[in-house]
Amino acid sequence: MTAFVGTWSLVRLALRRDRILLPAWILVFVLFAASSAGASIGLYPTVESRVALGASANANPSLLALYGWVFDPTSLGAISLYKLVALGAAMVAVLTILVTVRHTRAEEESGRLELIGATVVGRYAALAAALIVATGASLVLGLLSAVGLMSPGLPAAGSFAFGLGWAATGIVFAAVAAVAAQLTAGARAATGIATAVLGAAYLIRAVGDSTGSGGPSWFSWLSPLSWSAQVRPFAGDRWWVLVLPLVFAAGLVVAAFALVARRDLGAGLLPDRRGPARAAAGLSSPLALAARLQRGALVGWATGFMVAGLVFGGIAANVGSLADSPQARDMITKLGGQQGLTDAFMATEMGFLAMIAAAYGIQAAMRLRSEETALRAEPVLATSVSRTRWALSHLVFALAGSAFLLIVAGLTAGLSYAAASDFGQFGRVFGAALAQLPAAMVLTGIAFAAFGLVPRYSVLGWAALAAFVAIGLVGPIIGVDQWVLDVSPFTHTPKLPGTAFTAVPLVWLAAVAAAAIAIGFAGFRRRDVT
């Protein structure tokens, strides 16, 4: 057991490092679950309204693919949470993947684990500590979510079945990440492998769930993401299903420890591929370097936008049949549209994509800060590359990358929607996607201004996005004043398609983004590079 010596010290270290990140994430999930439950209780007060929604949801392959089945349409809990059972579990899985890799491979890659490994710490301690933290976080998240569901009045058994389903999924993907972290030498690659497994699990579940009752529905049992749904919270509470994720996770954990025992510190099991001895002729500018560093992430995001566009377009084509209750129609109208449910739905989803595109822009712009703190900006800035040129290289990716993502989503959503309705719809949907760009650019601008002026607080971009998302999602429901809503750039994007297009707010948003970027450049030219 000496290989585990020091585990608890490392657990404490991890909790110290994550003292803000973990509670904040857990809080988001708990609020997410509790507010969904609360909102749905108001929207579907009668059994008839619930059965109607459940029947239309279960009859719609796009929705089945996205969310899974409503197992008991009469149950208030099942109706309230069917959107969150699998989709929410996937988001919990993202959290545990990030946490696990952060405390295993990322530490190892940075060399910090070596520093710790030379003290009285066993070879399994780091992995054990990361798994304890991720498992503990999953359980706390699941149990608190259960309590959150009970507060608006859902039954306790179902609430815990739901919460433990989330927790079990979190634990499974912590174990997946633990294995992935042994395979590669790079943390980004390890996160990529674990996320790819998650994506595959989601696809398998989507295929299995959307084949309908006549198809091979056993297929979805192959996906760990189905298990939380197969517990059937509020629809029978089949506790025994929870054994599946636990056994699966235990197997993966054993495998991960076996792999740790078999490899050297710092090395992966998959051999590090060799690179070229000479740089390609094109690799001769800061922009080419930025492209090299950012292209992998952009391809990943673009794939996500492509899938999202296809799914949204498909759902939009038959959204009219979904919302039967007047409350649901009212809800969708309230969420941002004025004409026609379909347009309102599309406008809502486009607004959602704008926020995700803004997140891409922020993380691409923040690459500047991470290059700087990793001391990789210094050698480039010591060549004949000016500060402006270097900063511009990543900023171009943030701005053009956001545009590219929205174009991808606009194309796929437009095509899949047009295919199911008429081709005249394509232009409207594509235009609606493009109209989201200026608001997303404002967030890139804020992140870049923070980088230039107050580099220590460059997380300001993320804080602004979180605030704007909160304003957009919660503001209209709790009825805040218009000026509060106006703070968020997303408020000003015309609700396309469906409303008349006006260019004025978009020009203003672009001007704000440009001003923020100019401030960022002015700040960066004057400050120390550290």
């Binding site: 890659e109 740089a279 690799l283 001769s284």
Partner: protein, 308 residues
Amino acid sequence: MTTAISVSGLIKTFGRTRALDGLDLTVHQGEVHGFLGPNGAGKSTTIRVLLGLLKADSGTVSLLGGDPWRDTVTLHRRLAYVPGEVSLWPNLSGGEVIDLLGRLRGGLNEQRRADLLDRFDLDPTKKGRAYSKGNKQKVALIAALASDVELLILDEPTSGLDPLMESVFQDCINEERGRGRTVLLSSHILAEVEALCDRVSIIRLGRTVETGTLADLRHLTRTSISAELAGTPEGLAGLPGVHDLRVDGNRVRFDVDSKDLDQALGLLTRAGVRSLTSQPPTLEELFLRHYADDLARETGRHAAMVKS
């Protein structure tokens, strides 16, 4: 002789910490200049000011006749830099980094690139994350040395190299001198500085405490003498320049200031010398003398200095 680097009264503060406190530095064109100082003395900070990465609070800085903060891009075409802590992009190969940095600097000498890869025995196909500390430094060194530039700024470039590579590095720097290039070499390895540098500046707590040729500096220091005598030495203890005198029968050991060396040897010969060894002052002693005494006094302040 023209001046490549001229710094005077340079002050740079980070928050409440004064990292550079009136630093002076003069590097002549074509010389290899050693830049010495304990950890946190301000060597890297000075170099970053010279590169225009940090803005000086006050003082004058001139680099290759220009202002490093204002004329950054034009000056950087004429210099190459090896950072103290080399951090490579994890997914770029060493060869790619050498080419990239060379091209960003304005081109690199193909012949020398191949030659340096061979001499430093570096595998250019490995990815950045796979290199050891020494190999990362080799990547940065090759990228710098293969560029046709007037000035090389090297911040502790050999701290991760093995002795074999250290000697390759020394050969390379001597060749650079032969080509007429100027080198500013920040280093901890005193043997390296002694072997390579024409002139040396020693800094402490953000200020220059000593500057000059090694011969100049040696003049300020002491020679160690150990002798076996025929009789008892007289008057040695009374000589002001004699330190750490130990007499064991007719064996004596002592250190003597350069200015009193002649007089001390006179006293020894009067007592009759049977054997005599004298050790010239090493840079190490010079170095230690400059830090050890004052540092003990100023530990508190020293601890507050951050290497940034």
